[in-house]
């Protein structure tokens, strides 16, 4: 750890700068940078992130050098401001805030107005000539400090406040007078004594160290841990603590507080965009308690609001703010999210950071900034999180659908979603395992983070575009409508009413996050219409990437969607998916139930023309792009019926006794079907199945080539191989079918590498395989000895306990499974230098796994159609890395 634990900022100078995020946290680094830029930043200091780690490593004790460095920093601020910490006449007050390397909005604790006690409050009243303000600040401070530092729940104080209001016969906090507020501070302190057995601390230094400890402690609270897991933030980063002199937006009507974005975070439009509140503290804006006003006249008009814009109410300060935001954006070369406070008509900057934005905004901003020559194309690609594109690729509401709009709120996070209504985070977690849910809350708070994560959409009755719900939902790419004020929510009764409509828990509603509409029932959706910005970015990505991107698809609809999304072929066509259609399942069952080869062949003969037609359709859509067809893979019993009626129906159609069907079903049952009689093992046992499939493939390829005049680029893939010999035997079956059909075009036969033995024996297997496709789903299951179907019981706990950093089924385990992929790549290529290599597990659509695939030199990744653009961008970023 460095010797310098405390960094000063403010008054046009700073010890640090924006490059020191790792040390100062995001907030601290940017406060330093703004100070250096000469912007009006209230003086303060940052305790570095290393102190957080030292604090935890040393049983929550601070390094001994810290105290003197803090004392020195305090003195410097006192000099700059001309006020003193704890001074009874001219008291200096502080805010104490967290500030990690990555933004974790609302996850950690904050204390404001620190430095007030029974004496300094009087000094503040006298100095400001505003006793009401002073005692209002003091009662807020007692409540916040007691909650955060002393562990006295804020609920205790709210009850006292409510009683006081009742006693006074008023409904708004602002209607409470100065004396009553003073009285409240006494009642609050009594409550603290009652709950903690100790007096509320009057020593301002005790207050300060209590608050610093509390902020460090909040690094390890449940919310923060969950947020870090969801966002892949290592616990070892730690948080910094920012102690900053207070400025007040709530000292009267020449005061205000606000947040703003240098461009529209929802659309990406190049227009200054924000909200403010007159006579308020900063927390009032983001907490969503009062609905805030627009900053610009333009935004006011668009929102149809009649509350004055800041541009109108504080035109000079507004001009100053405009100059500052432009300076900041130019300086940082990125859209900024800024916080400010106006105290007695003086503007203070409290924060700037890269603003969170929707995916479409990210695309627009990136493309615009390239044409503004602010950034390069490569920088533009690096600015866009591939995963975020997901929200652009999801369906929107069908405009032709008849919809019953029951309420309107703010379009807080775009997209559309239908789901069952739930009213709290726990219900959301539970119900979401069975069906999509919409979380409905008066307003969300950081405690709701888990529930928000599992919900398809979020609806709040209060709060603006920058409320907690809106910010978090946009970050997650989850559709959100905020501030739908006509909603009356009864959390106890688990229903809400809007007008005379009552919506109970479990009822289905639909949200349109792009318009703010709340709709009763489920609404049909449409594929997203991709913007020009999207296409521009994808074009840049395609020029940069080396990895090809294919898709896993077998239905014509999926194939078409994938091609539209830019897929360069099919990496995995699962033929068995075609077996389930109503017109063929009976023949499939007949084949399985047959007692001998003759019986099987009879049934397969019926399937042949159907499969051929399926393949022909796909070949036509793919129009010469490579198509990898995997031969039958799952255990046969998956196709058999389980319900009594179905069993009887099959027996009847086939003309056998239903008791035979039952016996056969039970004979085919396996203890561990994942490891059973499936994949190429079926082809070895019943070569006639693969023979039929091969004939269907070659037949279709011949027809399509003749019809379209364009050859099919055919790759036949044999699953679940563990020895070269299996491939030898089955290649012979395929070659025989090929020669019988007189197919004389080039095609490839390859195999899935999806079992550890296949990876280890890849050098041998490559003698018979012209390509490998890594089936990382099964490879993960077998390498870990972990059934995907059965792991949900304990996998979450494994992640919480830090045993698995990430879900290995979502994100390729590079340490373990990755070794096998590398081994197979190396040995396969050694045998056959032109071996084509790809990946077709779920991981083919996961950006970090794609980076790995790029690094080890695979030729392509294959993923579900809707992840194709994500994969294209991820592949480009991998190439740039």
């Amino acid at each position: 750890m460095s010797n310098k634990l405390v960094y000063n900022f403010g008054d046009g100078t700073a010890d640090g700068d924006a490059s020191m995020k790792n040390t100062l946290g995001g907030k601290g680094a940017n406060l330093a940078e703004m100070s250096k830029l000469g912007l009006p930043v209230p003086p303060g200091f940052t305790i570095i992130t290393d102190v957080c780690n030292a604090y935890y490593e040393n049983k929550k004790n601070f390094p001994k050098e810290l105290e003197s460095q803090v004392t020195q920093a305090l003195k410097l601020i006192e000099q700059k401001i001309g006020a003193n910490f704890g001074d009874e006449k001219n008291p200096l007050l502080f805010s104490v805030r967290s500030g990690a390397r990555a933004s974790m909005p609302g996850m950690m604790d904050t204390v404001l107005n620190l430095g007030l006690n029974d004496k300094t409050v009087a000094g503040l009243a006298q100095k400001t000539g505003n006793k009401r303000f002073a005692y209002d600040s003091y009662r807020r401070f007692i409540q916040m400090y007691s909650d955060v530092v002393l562990g006295v729940d804020h609920y205790n104080f709210e009850v006292i406040l409510d009683e006081k209001k009742e006693e006074l016969g008023v409904t708004l906090d602002t209607d409470i007078g100065a004396d009553d507020l003073e009285d409240l501070t006494k009642l609050f302190k009594e409550k603290v004594k009652e709950e903690t057995g100790k007096n509320f601390p009057q020593d301002v230094n005790e207050q300060l160290w209590g608050a610093i400890s509390a902020v460090f402690n909040s690094w390890m609270n449940d919310r923060a841990i969950t947020y870090r897991q969801l966002n892949d933030i290592p616990a070892a980063w730690g948080t910094a603590v920012n102690v900053q002199s207070m400025v007040f937006g709530n000292m009267g009507n020449d005061c205000a507080t606000g947040v703003a974005f240098t461009r529209n975070p929802s659309t990406g439009d190049k227009s200054f965009y924000g909200e403010y509140l007159i006579n308020a503290q900063g927390e009032d804006v983001v907490a969503g308690i009062r609905t805030p006003q627009s900053i610009t006249k333009k935004a006011k008009a668009e929102a149809g609001s009649d509350l004055p814009a800041m541009e109108e109410s504080m035109p000079e300060v507004y001009q100053q703010l405009v100059e500052i935001y432009k300076k900041l954006e130019l300086h940082y070369r990125d859209m900024q999210d800024i916080e400010f406070t106006v105290q007695n008509n003086k503007l203070w900057m409290l924060q700037t950071r890269s603003g969170k934005r929707t995916a479409s905004a990210a695309l627009k901003i990136a493309v615009d900034m390239v044409s503004e020559k602010l950034i390069t194309k490569e920088e533009a690609l690096k600015r866009i999180d591939p995963e975020s594109l997901d929200q652009l690729l999801h369906p929107t509401l069908d405009p032709k659908a008849k919809i019953q709009v029951i309420a309107r709120g703010l379009p807080a996070s775009p997209g559309a979603a239908s789901g069952a209504v739930v009213f709290d985070s726990a219900d959301a977690e539970k119900r979401s395992q069975k069906e999509p849910v919409i979380l409905v809350r008066s307003e969300t708070s950081p405690e709701d983070i888990k529930g928000m994560h599992v919900s398809q959409g979020i609806l709040t009755a209060r709060g603006g575009m920058t409320s907690h719900a809106a910010v978090v939902a946009r970050g997650m790419g989850t559709c959100c409508v905020s501030g739908a004020t006509s909603l009356h929510i009864d959390n106890g009764g688990k229903f809400f009413t809007v007008g005379n409509v009552r919506v109970n828990e479990g009822d289905i509603i639909t949200l349109n996050g792009s318009t703010g509409e709340v709709i009763l029932g489920k609404v049909p959706t449409l594929k997203p219409n991709l913007s020009e910005d999207f296409k521009t970015i994808m074009g840049w990505a395609d020029k940069v990437r080396r990895l090809k991107v294919r898709t896993n698809a077998e239905t014509p609809a999926d194939c078409m969607a994938a091609v539209e999304f830019g897929a360069e072929g099919i990496g995995l066509c699962r033929t068995e998916h075609m077996f389930f259609n109503e017109d063929r399942i009976i023949s499939v069952r007949e084949m399985i139930l047959a007692e001998d080869k003759e019986g099987r062949k009879k049934a397969l003969d019926k399937l042949l023309p159907i499969q051929e037609k399926d393949f022909a359709e796909i070949f036509k859509i793919m129009s010469g792009l490579p198509v990898t067809i995997r031969l039958l893979d799952p255990p046969l019993h998956e196709f058999l019926p389980h319900k009594k009626e179905e069993i009887e129906q099959v027996a009847k159609v086939i003309g056998i006794d239903s008791s035979f069907v039952k016996r056969r079903i039970s004979a085919l049952k396996e203890e561990n079907p994942m490891l059973g009689h499936r994949g190429c093992r079926l082809g070895i046992s019943y070569p006639e199945i693969y023979e039929m499939q091969a004939k269907a493939i070659f037949g279709a390829a011949l027809k399509v080539a003749k019809e379209t005049g364009k050859d099919v680029s055919l790759e036949i893939m044999i699953p679940l191989v563990v020895t070269k010999k299996e491939l030898e035997i089955l290649n012979a079956v395929i070659r025989k079918a090929q020669s019988e059909l007189g197919y004389n075009k080039k095609y490839m036969i390859g195999t899935m590498i999806e079992l550890p033995r296949a990876a280890l024996m890849a050098g041998d297997i490559a003698k018979e395989a012209e390509f490998f496709s890594f089936g990382t789903n099964d490879l993960t299951q077998t390498t870990f000895g972990l059934s995907r179907d059965d792991s949900s019981n304990f996998l979450p706990h494994y992640q919480e306990a830090g045993i698995f950093e990430k879900d290995p089924f979502a994100c390729l385990d590079q340490d373990g499974v990755g070794q096998l992929v590398e081994i197979a790549t190396e040995r396969g290529r050694k045998t056959r230098p032109d071996l084509k290599l790809g990946i077709c597990g779920e991981h083919g659509g996961d950006p970090s796994s794609i980076t790995f695939c790029h690094k080890i030199g695979l030729d392509y990744v294959s993923c579900s159609p809707y992840r194709v653009p994500i994969a294209r961008l991820a592949a480009a970023r991998a190439a740039l890395a």
Copy 2:
């Protein structure tokens, strides 16, 4: 292929010698060697094994050089013998036999008396003055040649023979006179014409090439393929063909034929041992049609026979034979199995080879030969197939049991077995899947090989100690009683009678292969009493081997048996096996059904003293030897009841509703339990389970150390680990229990390496593990993606198709799984040079897998108690290799 395809032998010279087994086959090499030794060997030649491969590679055509070399060889024999092939006056006759590198008794085809036709038969009659002999030889030749070469089943000729005997009113073949035999040859030839549409070949060269082809063809018959699979003989070895001039043991009473062993193949006693028949062809002895006579007077007395021994009937030839057998044993320095024929009082040696022997005979012969200074101790160890010890280690009949002996036969293969009676190979294969079976046959033939393999014991009504049944059973280590002549078998009715006892198919009988007793019903068995020879060999093995041998055991009985067999510790104590006892399963179920940690702890508190007692018992028996205890491994649902009554019982005892039990059982059900919530995953989810087990272990170790004054050598093993972190967490649970119990002795914590990821991450895992034990059962399942429980459907087919050379669950897959074991060994030792390494899968008792474990440097193998001696010997042989 070499240019020399044909090797001559006989008359004191030979082109080859005993070292050329790979080229000449065992029979050919030894015929050459005997010739060189100056023994009387009928002249002949050997067509080398490479020709067999060339024949199959070239669509069953011979290399073109072969014909001229055969012709030359024939001429050489004609010169030596002074007779000519096909000569009408002085015909030379040949036998044509197979001869592979490894002995495959009776699996391939043979043709005798080749060279006879309508003209040469007359010459033979005249030359020998024995028309009856000549036509008897001819009718035998026609039958054999037609069966083997022309595909006319021998049944056809037997029917004609039976009709002729009926017509003549005689019962024995020997009662048929010369003219009637001549007539039979005509009837036989007519039958051939009828069946094949062609005349029986009169051209002796056509006969010869037909026979040579037939022998090569028989290399690929079903019996031979099965035998090769059972005995791990590669098809690529091929067979040689031996063409040898005929000598006749059936030309009169100064003729005989016999087989003998230079030492007793059943007991190993150093006494010449064999059987012969006057006036017979060799096949008569082994086919078991006539019960043969003893060679020595001593054996005759022991058998209680009144037929004259060869020592009495042919004293001079006998003396000559004694000299030869001594010379052969001294020359080969091993017990020999010899075949001879006496033609007109002249002795001819037809074969010598290392004799098959029982395991106890192998031990005795090896130990004796060491004391006779014929071989070294190391050679002695190399001579004994570890697998063969298995037959010594199996139980024998309890001498105190009351038994009802219903018949007596020859003690053809030692050991004892009870089982349900079956009467043919197919029934044996079927029924053996449900229960142990005893195969009962009049006499066995090579077609019965599959049925013999699946039977616990073999009982024949005819045939001697060297009959097919006896030889094959000894080789398999299967108990066999042969020649129980009082049995009357009704194959059609599927029963046998003996006196007035009738035994139906499915009735249980017991065989005592060491006494020849056939016993009605099931007889209790006793552990084997190991011979001094056994102990001597084991002592030598223990001095040579580097690998330690431990056992997999958890019951006191198994632990004691293992210690007696020489186990040097417990390598795997499966704690869950202790959970199934009646006195604890209820508590186990209570624990699983508990809704929370408190409920689980309550149930675990009841289990703690029981487990402690179990462990204490084991620690006492093992008396300071290392004991590796694996913590709970299987998925919890394995312990839950499935029958309605059981469910109700549990519900009642625990005091919960049975519907809850049912729900819980269904909730715990997994799709792929092998890959589910088991092993250390249970310990992570419910640390209280492992805590209880750790406390029971330390508690027991403390008690036993106090009681016996001897420390327990304790190794605690955590199963199914895939990350270091799992071990970290669970080690802490164990260390906590240790410190709570105040256990301050040395002990180790280690892990199973049983999943591919664990092997790949071994370097990391070894940071937390003091030992690794390779769980190769699960490692094989996951590396292959192959469920042991489900593979029986297709594994046999995989072996037949040559995809798997051996069952990977029986014999470690060194190519694939072995790589992971090697990787883990290397990486684990790199992290922790003193890492202790062992194997505890089934492979720990398999000789070839043990060789692998030795080679890669493991410290020990662990196997089931009864395989401990096998492992000790295998480990010694691995060290010698």
